[in-house]
């Protein structure tokens, strides 16, 4: 955000962006859907960081949450179910100037997209990935998702889901080259926002699992969490998600956790007494594929022609 600096000097950027510059219109999610709040938060970050709208690319798969790009007044790519990540990688590969935000769902990412997820973690390309976890398939109307708790009744498992719910946090912590794993909830806009800012600042594949209310299909799952003040356990650390003072009264259940400690992150993720929110793990020094993919970018046509002639020489007779 702009305005007077502390030393009273004035920074004068060529263009100023307001929230409206990122506003792609009224979102068509259900009233009370957690997706609305995340949208507001992302628009705010873009404004706060004054990212030119034409430099933002919002990429998604298919699902309720994946409608996200349509509601941003930036570039957007609303692609195929489960395939947001390969597209986002391709976009980032040769366009380091673009700010890539990925929206995915628990089904989109953990079910059909699971293979790409594992590899995207390994590529560790600089982007923010928000997984909207409502424990259900929303758009297709209440089928079991990988994060649906066993026993929950859904339209494909009317007698209750059969399998243990996937834990996206431990799953990701085990993956090779993991560099940033955080968790937050849609209904705490402050923590949500601070988590996304922290993710945006991390150079690499910044994955945030957002527990997201779906009043339409899984209202009961999240109402409990909202009501119980101790349901959430806030992870605090200098390198973690900064915890706003405003949360001191509402989120009292705290623990200190150094996000460079992967083993402790595993232990925390495995806790069943409360849901930890904040930064589980962060390693800013993992290799990043986006620094490798840009090789050769911007070569002049002359150099390309010369290079091609050299290659043809190798086959010349």
């Amino acid at each position: 955000m702009f305005g007077l600096k502390e030393d009273w000097s004035l920074k004068l950027p060529p263009r100023y962006f307001t929230l409206e510059d990122y506003d792609g219109g009224v979102a068509r999610w259900c009233p009370g859907c957690g997706d609305h709040g995340v949208l507001m938060s992302v628009r705010r970050i873009c404004r706060d960081e004054q990212i030119p709208p034409e430099k933002v690319v919002s990429v998604s798969g298919i699902g309720c949450s994946s409608r996200f790009p349509h509601y941003m007044k930036t570039y957007g790519f609303h692609g195929l179910h489960g395939r947001a990540l390969p597209v986002a990688e391709g976009i980032k590969a040769r366009r380091p100037d673009l700010d890539v935000w990925v929206t995915t769902g628990d089904g989109d990412n953990c079910s059909i997209g699971a293979g790409h997820w594992l590899h995207a973690v390994r590529y560790n390309m600089d982007m923010v990935v928000m997984m909207f976890d409502n424990n259900i398939y929303g758009l297709t109307k209440k089928q079991t998702s990988p994060t649906t708790q066993p026993g929950e009744r859904t339209n494909t498992h009317p007698r209750g889901a059969l399998l243990p719910a996937i834990d996206p946090i431990t799953t990701m912590l085990g993956m090779t080259n993991v560099s940033f794993v955080a968790q937050t909830v849609d209904w705490n806009p402050v923590h949500l926002h601070d988590t996304l800012v922290r993710a945006w600042k991390h150079p690499g594949f910044s994955f945030v699992r957002i527990l997201q209310r779906c009043p339409q299909y899984t209202a009961h799952v999240f109402s409990g969490l909202q009501d119980d003040p101790d349901a959430l356990l806030v992870m605090e650390h200098d390198n973690g998600v900064p915890v706003d003072k405003a949360l001191d009264r509402t989120l009292k259940n705290r623990t200190t956790h150094d996000p460079s400690d992967k083993m402790e992150a595993f232990a925390l993720a495995a806790r069943r007494d409360a849901i930890p929110i904040g930064l589980f793990f962060c390693d800013p020094d993992r290799p990043r594929y986006n620094e490798m993919t840009v090789e050769g970018m911007g070569m002049s046509v002359e150099d390309k022609l010369a290079g091609l002639e050299d290659q043809l020489d190798r086959f010349a007779i």
């Binding site: 430099k55 570039y75 609303h78 195929l80 366009r95 090789e295 091609l308 043809l312 010349a316 007779i317």
Partner: protein, 630 residues
């Protein structure tokens, strides 16, 4: 050397021939392919037309002396441009007899084919081997092969303790003697091929080359001259996948995303090596779906992109292909076709993906599909495809195949042009008020905003959308989008000329082909025409949209057939009623399009089409005319 050269040529009479087909066949790892490639390269440099094709075993390292283990090469050399592998071989050099069974089964030889066979097995300590050798000789003779047994192993042992690693160059020397090849060029070739192995290896191979040359001078009673055709114009020698890789670079494509699959992979091997020379990036993705997704992402962001694959990979890309059509993402998709269906025949050729490519994605997915007919076109088609992809804003498919991929020939050296290359992505402000899909009514084409362009912000979507890219489920926008996407094909077709008939524009029979069969078809047609048959041929480069004027061209011929490397039910199959007969893939398309009763001659044996087979089909269809004309 000069002396040797001239001395030998005095001693034995030389026959001048228009062309010869030579095969070298060995166990895998004995280097037959290296020797053949060198023979091809030398001949190309001397100004002959050349086509070489490798004989590849199914396993990585099959056991020695096994029938399935044949590893080798065919080299066809002529006094004119050579466009295909030809029919039966004239001369075969074999390091053992077992590896020839598969070749015989593939009908690679004819009565009269000369076989130079290493006779070490005749005296093998193992009785079984001796018996197998004797038995094989008998069988080969019964097929009419003229066998010359030679102590290749023994001769090589005079120069190296391990002939398995040197016999190939000895054989190259022999062939240089037989075909009067320039030994100095052969020495250079050896020096290039072994440059990374050091001088000692080069010297040894030079020695073996000379030894073979000298040995043949007295021991092999065969001498052929194949006059040169064009020794002067600058040329390159490569296979179709190498040509494709360099063509991708010449097109200014920046990103190639792929996943390994035979026979497409060697395109990526070449790019792995060469792509940095033009600043490109090769992405090996986790699977074919991710590969095309990555390419689509790059293209969306303004970086020209391609993906390269083969049948099973095409299948996996189907969903993303539908998205590329729907959201009009420029993209070059290269399918190096192999034998199908399913995993099928991974190393063998087929033209079986035409209908799958055209109709693979669900819903209405109009696509541009082109097929190179020569290795030279493998170089030029990515350049064409990149342009079409951007001009018509959508995916363009190149259907190459295993025959082009692995065949090696010489063609005029291309002169790279700046215009071939994609310009860098436009980052100037987008015209105010211009929609991201401002379709032109006449062509369906629209200008495309690139991320970074101020004011061009839009969200690409695979859902039905209006010209502002807003999701639109109403009847009219859906219909309009469908019409605009389809119209692009019509618009492109209106820019195309009718294809040129090879031969007279009218006659008794028109043979229609596409893709890698061009050389064989035209050779067969040429032969039949020279004998007075009223046959012509037509070769399609555009499969979708098809070039115009086909119906009119067909109308001037009594019969029209396609020649294709894919499946059709035989016309005379007693178990297949006419109304259930399934046609070759191009024939099927042509029938629907022209309503002409186009028949088909299809081959589906995993082999490139031999000109003789096409010729036989032509004479089968025109027997009386053939007599009349004589």
């Amino acid at each position: 050397m000069r002396d040797a050269n001239s001395r030998q040529s005095q001693e034995m009479p030389r026959t001048t021939v228009h062309e010869h087909i030579v095969e070298i066949v060995s166990d895998s790892g004995e280097g037959a392919q290296k020797a053949g490639q060198a023979l091809g390269a030398i001949s190309a440099k001397m100004g002959n037309g050349v086509w070489t094709v490798e004989i590849i075993p199914a396993e990585i390292k099959p056991p020695a002396r096994s029938r399935e283990g044949a590893s080798g090469i065919r080299v066809r050399i002529g006094d004119h441009p050579i466009t295909n592998m030809g029919d039966e071989a004239d001369l075969v050099v074999a390091f053992n007899e077992q590896v020839l069974y598969g070749r015989l089964q593939n009908r690679a030889y004819r009565p009269g084919t000369v076989l130079l066979l290493d006779n070490r097995w005749a005296a093998d300590p193992d009785e079984n081997i001796r018996a197998m050798y004797a038995e094989a000789l008998e069988e080969f003779r019964s097929h009419g092969l003229e066998i010359i047994e030679l102590p290749l192993d023994e001769e090589c042992r005079k120069h190296t303790p391990n002939p398995r690693l040197g016999k190939n160059m000895f054989v190259l020397g022999m062939l240089c003697q037989i075909y009067n090849r320039d030994l100095e060029r052969a020495r250079q070739e050896i020096a290039t091929v072994f440059r990374r192995k050091g001088d000692k290896v080069i010297a040894l191979n030079h020695k073996l080359l000379q030894a073979g040359y000298d040995y043949a001078a007295t021991a092999v009673p065969l001498r052929f001259d194949i006059p040169c055709w064009d020794a002067d114009s600058p040329k390159v020698v490569m296979n179709g996948n190498q040509a494709t890789a360099l063509g991708i670079m010449a097109a200014g494509i920046e990103v190639v995303a792929m996943y390994p699959i035979t026979p497409a992979t060697s395109v990526s091997h070449q790019l792995g090596d060469s792509f940095p020379a033009t600043g490109g990036f090769l992405h090996q993705a986790e699977d074919e779906i991710a590969a095309i997704g990555f390419a689509i992402g790059a293209s969306y962001a303004g970086r020209t992109a391609a993906t390269v694959t083969s049948g099973p990979g095409m299948a996996l890309k189907t969903e993303f292909i539908g998205l590329a059509v729907m959201a009009e993402v420029p993209l070059v998709v290269i399918d190096v076709q192999r034998g199908g269906p399913s995993t099928g025949l991974p190393t063998k050729v087929e033209q079986g993906d035409l209908l799958g490519t055209l109709f693979g994605a669900m819903g209405d997915t109009p696509k541009i599909v082109i097929a190179p007919a020569t290795i030279e076109e493998c170089f030029h088609f990515p350049i064409l495809a990149r342009r079409l992809a951007e001009d018509f804003r959508g995916p363009v498919f190149i259907l190459s195949d295993a025959n082009l991929a692995t065949g090696v020939t010489a063609f005029p050296r291309p002169t790279p042009q700046a215009e071939w290359m994609a310009p860098p992505p436009d980052q100037s402000p987008w015209e105010e008020g211009l929609a991201p899909y401002a379709w032109d009514e006449a062509t369906g084409v629209s200008p495309r905003p690139i991320p970074g362009q101020k004011g061009g912000e839009y969200t690409l979507t695979g859902l039905a959308h209006n010209e502002r890219s807003k999701v639109a489920y109403a009847p009219e926008p859906n219909e309009h989008g469908l019409r605009m996407r389809s119209r692009k094909l019509a618009a492109l077709q209106r820019t195309l000329k009718p294809p040129v008939v090879n031969g007279d524009p009218e006659g008794d029979l028109l043979v229609v082909g596409w893709g890698s069969t061009l050389g064989a078809i035209e050779e067969a047609v040429g032969k039949a025409r020279s004998e007075g048959l009223r046959v012509s041929s037509l070769h399609l480069r555009f499969l979708s949209p098809m070039e115009p004027g086909l119906k009119e061209i067909f109308s001037r011929f009594k019969q029209v057939i396609t020649v294709e490397l894919n499946y059709s039910d035989p016309a005379d199959d007693p178990f297949v009623p006419a109304s259930a007969r399934r046609y070759g893939q191009l024939a099927f398309l042509l029938r629907a399009q022209t309503l002409v009763d186009v028949d088909c001659f299809t081959l589906n044996q995993g082999l490139p089409v031999a000109p003789g087979k096409v010729y036989a089909e032509i004479t089968r269809r025109l027997p009386t005319h053939a007599h009349a004309a004589r």
